[in-house]
Symmetry: C2
Subunit: 295 residues, 2 copies
Amino acid sequence: VTRGSSATHPNLPDAVLVDGTAWREGLAGTPSALDRGLHFGDGLFETIACRGGRPRFAGLHLQRLTLGCERLGIALPPPTELRAEIELLAADREASLVKVIVTRGPATGRGYGARGDERPTRISLRYGWPPEDPRLQDEGVAVQLSEFRLGENAELAGLKHLSRLDLVLARRGLEAAGVDELLLFSSSGRLVSGSMTNVFLVEGGRLRTPRIDLCGVAGVMRRVVLRAAERAGLAVEEAALGREDLERAQEVFLTNARVGIWPVRRVHTRTLSPGPLTRRVQQLIAPSLEEATDG
Amino acid sequence: VTRGSSATHPNLPDAVLVDGTAWREGLAGTPSALDRGLHFGDGLFETIACRGGRPRFAGLHLQRLTLGCERLGIALPPPTELRAEIELLAADREASLVKVIVTRGPATGRGYGARGDERPTRISLRYGWPPEDPRLQDEGVAVQLSEFRLGENAELAGLKHLSRLDLVLARRGLEAAGVDELLLFSSSGRLVSGSMTNVFLVEGGRLRTPRIDLCGVAGVMRRVVLRAAERAGLAVEEAALGREDLERAQEVFLTNARVGIWPVRRVHTRTLSPGPLTRRVQQLIAPSLEEATDG
């Protein structure tokens, strides 16, 4: 195995394992045509940033995956096996993204309901690290408010599950809007997140982020930021936030396991500057981004 | 090809075609590990009841699939090809269910957003006709109100899409409740549907069914009933309905492409009798259920 810096194709994985077997299109290690992940979006995933040949925040990713499997009643593959597979894929590259999908497995019956005797499917994919513009972390990103409304569902909230057609559709507006990210609201008007990021507001010296009780993904970097801020003695709050909270915010930033923190420099037509609390949080988490800590 | 009455295993398909190639587990016609149906629930499906070796309401199913592909921006496989494949699978069995999945296809990039250059995947599966209790259509079914709340999303409403984790979870309550079907409400309290049926209420000689603008699937049998009722001069209404409408209803019935119409004989603790309008509608659609009409 060679240790290169990029994948064969920047957008497609250069290694795929299906239940531990190397996948070759139509030949080996192929998913079942009966898989409930394919039929119903019945499963979970993680996208893990790997630097220096090591997965970053592997502990937090596996913890979320474990919790998700418990909530969905999916038999989790042994975490040590999962971790070994992630580490194996990460080790070959200086920088990569390893995506792990765990589905409930091939259907053992017809229809939506699970029967309980399914055996989960595990798919691990390694992607090259996408090109990134360092200015986004320094100068910030432009965001637009999406007209798309995410559905509210307490039993799905927080999970990084496979039923993601809502985000697929929400993303359609991104290119048209000519911005770096979209901010999404739920059907009842709550601020939820970006399309691939969580969102934090700064107001009166306090960090605020949407509570994830009805909608949204409990992002790993969101958790890292919350933890780092609490340890540093900053005031943090998870709350039901609306458009008026966004408008009142002095600073806004976005989080994502790959990019870390993106300060927001423009929301719709309103211009912001990356402020002191955003910079403080960037500094707080910087060491953990560089060291490929376990989380 | 033999014309038998049942599949090899009652719960699993006895024939699967992936892009027209017969699927053999791990060997041939296997789905791609990159398929966006698997990664994001990015696709649609139809379950078509086939009787006498012919698909029933094939026209309506293909029409919904076509509309769904248009709304999602998925390149629809040629409808004549799809229809030929469904008819081929149906022809071998006296009674079967043919499920057709169309996904956006293998990902051509990373992340939620589609790039527009994907080529769709088509998976067709033939299942045996499940055993059914004829009393359910005569005497009616018992239903329970689910505590589960479906998310509201105008852009997904009506579509029979693959992001179905909500219904997978909602179905968990069915066995525990010891009933035949669950009635589901949306996050804002609207009556939506059953977990695998649409719902109709009868009030003051009028048929009422939830409007599908924020939530729910636009069922083929729902459409058949609406059309037959209108042709027969019955008063019908699609409206935003709530729990109080359900409680006021003199009759309640459920629709599904396979079962036709299930009168409801009990809602939670309230006992109902299959009433005159339910019986009238059952008579109206009976011919189309027997003849395997094209819809």
